[in-house]
């Protein structure tokens, strides 16, 4: 029994240490947002009174609401379009099977793990030739068709009961009506999980916006954090405040939709 207790204690200690290390940066970030840069650098770990000043400094350096607006706009439009295009295709590949399309689908799977680094150069040339640099269209367009999400929807569609579709057909619904009024409501949880993944990816996207977006008024929140961090004398109070602001939306999504969140992460790569 005592050996059991000892081992138990060991497990709890191990997990508590891991949990501490996991949470500490969050704590550091929240506390840092309320302190002066000089205090942060010297390791102050108690909440300070500099939050308002940090906020004012941030507002004087960046058009924060505009930047947030840009991030939200890009993330929301990307999410809607990605979900629409990918779920249509996932449904199409699964429900209407043909040999040609099956071949195409297998071909797409080959491209599943093409690294973005390989696409970045030609995409940049394409976008600049189309004179789309520094537009949100350029940020959003290449991310809409996602093989990951398409694959995810096709897998999920396998669980869509064919009786529902047959019944809808008997009722005289057209195929697009079946998709819109039967499939979509039935697959709510699949859409929820995919929404979280796509929104997170778009919200956190860095490399492509960094390449495409150039003027300050078009920057997203990730670009702003990166620029603040790269400054010659970084103001850590302002940086940590900005990371808090950038992390809050995804944190809220996580706590509200924890189950779908984890499901999406597991599903999107299965």
């Amino acid at each position: 029994m005592s050996l059991y207790m000892l081992r138990r204690t060991g497990v709890y200690l191990f997990l508590s240490l891991a949990a501490f290390l996991s949470v500490f940066p969050f704590f550091w970030m929240a506390v840092g947002a309320t302190n002066k840069s000089t205090e942060i650098i010297t390791g102050k770990m108690t909440p300070g009174s500099n939050l308002v000043v940090n906020f004012q400094t941030l507002l004087s350096q960046v058009d924060l609401w505009r930047v947030f607006g840009n991030s939200f706009l890009i993330a929301i439009v990307s999410t809607i379009l990605t979900l629409a295009v990918s779920s249509l295709a996932g449904y199409g590949f699964e429900i209407f099977r043909s040999r040609v399309r099956e071949r195409i689908f297998q071909l797409l799977l080959l491209f599943l793990s093409i690294p973005f680094a390989a696409l970045m150069v030609p995409l940049f040339v394409m976008i600049s030739r189309a004179q789309l640099t520094n537009t949100f269209t350029a940020v959003i367009l290449p991310t809409i068709a996602s093989i990951f999400i398409l694959f995810y929807f096709r897998q999920a569609t396998k669980a869509f009961p064919s009786e529902l579709r047959d019944a809808a057909r008997v009722d005289g619904l057209k195929e697009w009506q079946i998709f819109l009024f039967v499939y979509m409501p039935t697959m709510r949880s699949t859409y929820a999980a995919a929404t979280i993944i796509v929104f997170m990816n778009a919200w956190n996207n860095y490399l492509w916006p960094l390449i495409v977006l150039q003027t300050p008024e078009n920057k997203t929140i990730t670009l702003v954090i990166s620029a603040l961090t790269a400054a010659y004398t970084p103001d850590y109070g302002v940086i940590l405040l900005t990371t808090v602001l950038a992390t809050l939306p995804t944190l809220v999504i996580f706590f509200v939709l924890q189950r779908q969140f984890v499901q999406g992460m597991l599903g999107a790569v299965k």
């Binding site: 629409a84 150069v121 860095y206």
Partner: protein, 296 residues
């Protein structure tokens, strides 16, 4: 007659549903990939291309920076991935115990780093690991070191920072894969082993690890592909420095394309190095998945 019309309708619908995705993938994925292949045989700066035959491939062979970037990537991979996977496995096994208290809380906390954006957390780590930052303060007040560790100005320590950062961000992510897999492991195997008096560690190595082998391989490959594409953290914490000590392939391609004298042809060639490695890994992954399906 009615049958063929139905068939034709199926065909039309089938294509209509998949067409938007196919068109977009064609324009923004297939076409750029093929173009990048063509580009990789072009030499010249900016928008002046000319066919260079194998010139870029020759340059590849003599590129010391590329070798360094590859070496760094391999170091990150060889050290970081095993640490992360062992930790994730230990967490998953500990949390899979139904008698453990605060399971949900521990799981949520350990998963929490996955919620942060790569840029946000790398800024956070940069501030924590700065020369007189909190990490050095803590180490010094605990008398573990006598002088501050040059985390970001020494190539070795900079690698340590990057490895710690990635481990912090991704361990919880891998953990949920193992937790999901452990839920499918038959509990009676463990019962039998325990009754036979097999100790905990032996149960872990001889039952859990072999049972989870497919998932472990899968997450290993996923992490490797991730390491090959490492960019956000590097660009934000070290910019590839000091002395190219944390330069990665993606960072190098970015520099070749947008920082130094742009040479699109050569950066496309370097990007195909990544494609080649990823392709090999994907084939391995595919074979594992096939074996698994056959085994099941």
């Amino acid at each position: 007659m009615a049958q063929t019309r139905l068939d034709r309708n199926e065909q039309i619908n089938g294509w209509a549903f998949v067409m938007p995705a196919l068109v977009l993938l064609g324009i923004f994925m297939i076409y750029p990939i093929l173009w990048s292949l063509w580009m990789s045989f072009q030499v010249g700066r900016g928008n002046n291309f000319s066919f260079g035959g194998l010139a870029n491939i020759q340059r590849l062979a003599n590129d010391a920076l590329l070798v360094q970037a590859l070496t760094n990537t391999i170091i990150f991979f060889i050290i970081q991935v095993p640490i992360m996977i062992v930790l994730a496995l230990l967490f998953a096994v500990a949390l899979n115990d139904a008698t453990l208290r605060f399971r949900g809380l521990f799981r949520t906390i350990l998963f929490l780093p996955c919620v942060t954006s790569l840029i946000a957390y790398s800024s956070l780590f940069k501030s924590m690991f700065s020369n007189d930052g909190i990490i050095n303060q803590a180490l010094m007040s605990l008398h573990l070191v006598s002088a501050p560790i040059p985390w970001l100005t020494d190539p070795f320590w900079a690698k340590v920072v990057i490895i710690s950062a990635i481990t912090w961000r991704w361990t919880g992510y891998n953990m949920i894969f193992y937790l999901a897999a452990l839920q499918n492991v038959d509990k009676s195997i463990y019962e039998a082993a325990r009754i036979d008096g097999i100790p905990g560690w032996a149960r872990f190595w001889n039952i859990t690890v072999p049972m989870l082998k497919p998932v472990i391989l899968f997450t290993t490959i996923l992490s490797t592909i991730g390491t090959l594409q490492l960019f956000d953290e590097i660009n934000n914490i070290t910019q590839g420095g000091p002395g190219n000590g944390t330069m990665t392939l993606s960072m190098y391609i970015y520099n070749l394309t947008f920082r130094m004298m742009p040479s699109f042809g050569y950066s496309a060639t370097v990007s195909w190095v990544i494609v080649a490695i990823v392709a090999v890994l994907s084939i391995i992954q595919f074979m594992i998945a096939r074996d698994r399906r056959r085994g099941a």
